[in-house]
Symmetry: C2
Subunit: 121 residues, 2 copies
């Protein structure tokens, strides 16, 4: 395993904490930073392993990465500008637990995201 190149994380931050590997690579190029695409991918993987960033998928399947606090939480994402609010999901946690028990599931986890248009857009 390799350690994350700090410039990748810093670029992800500058991107609003929300970008794909290809986007980060193009962004760094445009800003004159010399880096290889491979290193961008490797750094992102490492950041995901260390749970410093979160990975999810665009509709087209491309992986997007975002900076993320470490406590369990959910997201409210603007479909227009990408702005993301971390929200706490008390109701969901309970719902997931109840539903799982009701159907005899164990070792359960869950995902939940809300998306819409933010007030600025």
């Amino acid at each position: 395993m390799s350690r994350s190149n700090p410039r990748v994380l810093s670029t992800l931050e500058r991107a609003g904490g929300f970008a794909s590997a290809q986007e980060i690579y193009r962004l760094m190029q445009r800003e004159g930073e010399s880096i290889g695409l491979t290193t961008v991918y490797r750094s992102l993987q490492s950041l995901v392993n260390d749970k410093i960033v979160d990975v999810l998928r665009r509709d087209d399947g491309e992986a997007i990465y975002r900076l993320c606090g470490d406590a369990h939480h959910h997201h409210l994402v603007c479909k227009a500008c990408g702005d993301t609010v971390e929200i706490e999901g008390g109701a969901i946690e309970k719902w997931a637990k109840v539903m799982a028990e009701e159907h005899g599931f164990r070792d359960v986890g869950h995902t939940a995201e809300i998306f819409g248009i933010c007030s600025k857009c």
Copy 2:
């Protein structure tokens, strides 16, 4: 747009209502059905458009399709055998609405899935 080839849907059913395009294609081949991969993809797209199947993503980004009732609902999925239970999400619906309002979002939608190990596994 093209109409879905009925054999694709029937194969998806036989697969337990849970498979990727490639898997459906390989399954049909193994069973001696003559079909092109392109047609499998086109049929699945069309089924998704018609909201007859649901699409989501494996961790590796491959799209998987599954048969799905048409009313809004959520899923409880077994990580081991893939068994899926459709569940209703009253608590989620309310949570999503409240959170969105609280942060000034409009036109909101949401996703929520629970995954774990079912009682049979």
